[in-house]
Symmetry: C2
Subunit: 413 residues, 2 copies
């Protein structure tokens, strides 16, 4: 496996995971990403006004260091959310212990938690696991995969994505043009985290690493642009988590400096983020269909997104997809209450290449049997043209099934 | 049964229902409410921008007559929505035939439709049923109940509500004080209408009748005030229909004139509307729990409603209720993304009288077994205090169950 790491894993980072005893399953649940030296960092957090303690600490730390991170510490099995001052104290105590272990400032530690809400974080278990974890970290592909596994909860598969860029550099004083490599590696969890005891909650955690040298302000712009068309374009159940976190770290270990507006880097980052976003949707709780919504002809991009979200959050639409039911009337109703500017008599709908609705009424060529057959595919696309302007978006979502209810409603005391 | 009608049914109206052949079940599906003379009318319609053809016609007719209605014509089995110009033509043709039958203007007819979206309305079936229906109408309680049954779709029970007011009138030139009676009778459908073929859609239709004499402007104010705290305070699945209609008719046949700001009438009307709203929630598709949300301490009434709706629309919250799972963390997450102004550290949550969350963290007295037992009741209340101001609201909603999925996802070609 060490061969793979030569090509895939960004240089300048080490990885490791341990069993701290937070997951009832007994699996690994505490993971560290350790940069050889403090890395440039950009981060995005949930818009939920109820946020977990580590997010508060993360924001303080990024401010204090002007966007530098030495260690990312992720625990699964406990969200450290709705835990009040004790939760903040617990997150900070963990950071202090990690800083001591790795000889850095506590502010250079970026903590993340995912799991049960409202239960005190057992800091002592994390701190007890630290010494062994610190000596086991490494930079191989296997070490990276250990983290991808440790942060999972109800996810059924590990979710990673990789990109490599060849960057040609013209050297004035050197041997002419040279080609250098920049790597991006990313991992995430997200499905609708379920803990079969008290207060489960869906959470998405995403960590993206690169060995390019990028200063925090530019890194922030790259991250936001990529998020806008990836993680902000997916929905499984419409519930926004208290713990969602996306972190992008740049170690600079490739020796390749990347400034702002580097189109190839931006494109590679967006591809990595889009891949992870789609992996999250594909592993959505209980889903049987992945749906790509292509909204076009909206009065604005914001309107296109309103329409996509209304459809993606409609229980009637999502249950129809679960039944492969071509009831486009439910789509029209959701478009109607989305808040977007529309003319009901100018809406066109296609299932893949099949025109279903034309000018707001059933299309002349509508074929129920063909439409039903199309929706029986595990992945399909629905295109909606509002004929109001140039606004458009692509959005990925899922159906709503019996299995989702089973996962989230079954409660055993 | 004629005894009952003496007390419950407002004077000045006749009722009847027939089998026009729109429901696949073969049950009655075409209903008429006929006022002896044109009645004062106030109406409210869905905010959905995709609306059914009869709603367009209703609005035109109410404008043309300054709020007078002679005949309400309701068909179930076909929503006449997403049917384009043909749908408008169909609604108007039905109104013309009814106007001819009852010797009134077509503009005095108020059509309503509920059922399949996107399928042409078979006007000829409705018109063919008219002659027999016209001679069978009557003013007895039984006739009223025929309508309550004919307009149902996936509803499992008929939904009606009644109120009587004794109004004391001081007569200057007469025999002193006399007591007169005003009656209110209302019926509705709503559950999540399902038609197991093509494009089912949830729809609420509400008809409220009174024999008080009230002019349309005052009637409109009474209706809006009552709706605001009843029908606009319920949610089963968060999907806003294309056909929702609430109509209030005043025949004046009691001889009692009621002006604006009559507190007793307003209160009686609100009680009738609240009763129907709760009946709709109780008959929600597949539900096993009815939940009363009491939001208090919000920065504004609008904020209180935002919080209630976010909770009522959260699949994670609703599935937790289905499982009697006291996971208050899901409630906090929904409050957090509701858009309301909140302080996460000042949120209190009670299940009935049990305090669950205090200052945003688990309450010291939290007892999981007791909380679970409380949620096993078919009806329960959840109180949330945000400690931000005086805004409050009461809202009724339901859980989300396997049966909801079965009703809406099962598709048979």
């Amino acid at each position: 496996m060490s061969d793979l790491s030569q090509f895939l894993i960004p240089r300048g980072f080490k990885f490791g995971a341990a069993k701290a005893g937070l997951k009832q399953s007994g699996r690994t649940d505490f993971a560290l990403i350790v940069a050889d030296a403090a890395a440039s960092a950009a981060a995005a957090f949930t818009a939920n006004r109820v946020t977990a303690a580590p997010l508060t600490v993360d924001k303080e730390h990024l401010r204090a260091t002007d966007g530098r991170v030495r260690v990312v510490a992720i625990n699964a099995g406990n969200a450290n959310c709705a835990t009040g001052q004790a939760g903040l104290d617990a997150a900070r105590a963990t950071c202090s212990a990690i800083a001591e272990t790795f000889n850095c400032k506590p502010e250079e530690v970026f903590p993340s938690s995912t799991g049960v809400i409202g239960v005190p974080l057992p800091t002592e278990k994390l701190i007890a696991a630290l010494p062994d974890l610190a000596v086991s970290i490494g930079s191989e592909f296997d070490h990276f995969q250990q983290i991808a596994s440790a942060i999972l909860t109800t996810d059924t598969v590990e979710k990673t994505a990789f990109a490599r860029l060849k960057i040609t550099i013209s050297q004035i004083d050197g041997p002419g043009e040279i080609e250098q490599e920049v790597r991006i590696a990313a991992l995430c969890k997200g499905s609708g985290m379920i803990h079969p005891q008290l207060v489960p909650h869906a959470t998405m955690l995403v960590y993206i690493l690169t060995d390019a040298a990028i200063e925090p302000p530019a890194l922030d712009t790259y991250l936001r642009d990529a998020i806008d068309v990836s993680f902000n374009r997916i929905s499984v159940d419409g519930d926004t988590s208290t713990n969602d976190t996306v972190l992008l770290l740049a170690s600079g270990a490739s020796g390749v400096a990347i400034g702002a507006h580097h189109a190839e880097f931006a494109s590679a980052l967006t591809q990595v983020c889009t891949s992870l976003a789609r992996q999250i949707v594909s592993d959505g709780e209980g889903i049987t269909h992945i749906v790509e919504l292509r909204i076009q002809g909206a009065a604005s991009a914001a309107d296109a997104l309103r329409v996509a979200k209304a459809i993606a959050h409609s229980p009637l639409v999502k249950t129809a997809w679960a039944g492969c039911d071509p009831n486009w009337g439910r789509l029209l109703a959701a478009i109607g209450y989305s808040g977007a500017n529309i003319d009901p008599n100018r809406i066109d709908v296609w299932f893949g290449e099949l025109r279903i609705c034309c000018d707001g009424s059933r299309a002349a060529e509508f074929d129920e049997v063909a439409a039903h057959a199309y929706l029986q595919q595990p992945e399909f696309s629905i295109t909606i043209d509002l004929h109001q302007g140039d606004g458009s978006c692509t959005f990925w979502t899922t159906d709503l099934t019996h299995e989702y209810i089973r996962i989230n409603a079954d409660y055993t005391t």
